[in-house]
Symmetry: C2
Subunit: 236 residues, 2 copies
Amino acid sequence: MRSKDELRSKAFWCLLGINLFENLRPEDMQELSRYTQNRKYQRGEMIYLPGDPATTVYFLKKGRVKLVYLDEHGRKLTLAICRPGQPFGELMPDEDHKRSRFMAQALEDVELCLIGRDELIRFAQERPHLSLRLAKWVGQQLREMESKLEDLIFRDVPVRLARLLERLAREEGVPATEGIEISLKLTNREIADLIGSTRETTTVLLSQLRRSGVITKRHGRFIITDLEGLKQRCAN
Amino acid sequence: MRSKDELRSKAFWCLLGINLFENLRPEDMQELSRYTQNRKYQRGEMIYLPGDPATTVYFLKKGRVKLVYLDEHGRKLTLAICRPGQPFGELMPDEDHKRSRFMAQALEDVELCLIGRDELIRFAQERPHLSLRLAKWVGQQLREMESKLEDLIFRDVPVRLARLLERLAREEGVPATEGIEISLKLTNREIADLIGSTRETTTVLLSQLRRSGVITKRHGRFIITDLEGLKQRCAN
DNA sequence: AAGATGCTGTAAGCCAGCTTACAGTAAGGG
DNA sequence: CCCTTACTGTAAGCTGGCTTACAGCATCTT
């Protein structure tokens, strides 16, 4: 059986690589790690569902996770794709501890560590620097939401699709022989959910882009073969 | 000429009634007030414009202010209506101090006090409780944005209009003989901007609601005469 | 009083993109 | 290997709500 110390140092290690906790003093890390847990999920598994009490904050260690809004009629909108190092979950829920309206789903095999919202806040209460970082994190989420809103109101579906692909190429792209490969397995349905459109419309638009030589597909992953052409389609 | 103390206590008074600074120690209030300024604006005046550097945080003392997103083609979306006691402005802008994409306009004669973002953050740095409140504030903005997004994607225009009127009746309503009066002068154009629709469509829908006996208008202000009927129209 | 400016009301026409429907293809699993 | 399930591709039709266009009012200005 492993010693407590070993377990603790393992948890400690878990906190490394998380942007939010960079530059934290080692003894603080040590303390914080006592409140954390490690979890693993397989591709496709749900990490939390709409309606689950929003009392936990998650930090991605490995794999990617998508955050999806689900409405009462089953329509979906994917709000974000989180990458290793990033936190997700609701840090600042309603006064009345209302349940989250989002779900988090593993896009790949995922490793994460989690911490109770109240513990994290109590811990931050005595560490102003961390508190401000939390505020900054929430501020980032806010800005992402704003840009999502901007897209959905002011841009039409073809432009939203082009902008999504351009962003994915920038954020998740790896160089390939034909161009930039988006290192994410995404179905047309998932892309549709990301741009707030339907599967059918998205399929048609993707076919057009393929025929125009802007993109191609290999092993279920998209490759941007003409980044310039794509960028032209990002404007209204 | 007035003494420094008098000026200071006046500024101090300015901080009272602002939710964010409730329960702050008097000496902290005293110090914070040294960084603040008071300003007045008339109905219709701009407080800041898109493109202005986002370095200031505002606290409303009197009157209401609307925050509007303006796109490059002149289309508008009103994101929020702020009321006395509420803060607005961008507390947590991009790393690169990107300029705000919003404008703030006085809906009525307005009194506010303002403080530099950096000063406020430096001040909060040593007061963890305040830092967490800032995070909570940003969290609230985030939730409002989420609900705006939800409306815009999943609900059609008539429902969005009904929900807006219901919300305004709840938040800005005062009892009147015929029903609940919304204590805000709003043109059809402004209502259209609030629900992400056009002036014409909004006019038609408002006329329908009037003909159905759900609302009426007096002195440029709407009165909800049939709250139940309105609530029925809030569902999809 | 006349003119300018901005708000309200109404209506015809149009179109992006959602719906519905179906066929073909890939892939996972027993 | 077959069978089931899920994904992709295509197309006809419909419709919510945006566009465009005007006319009548209400303020405000000088």
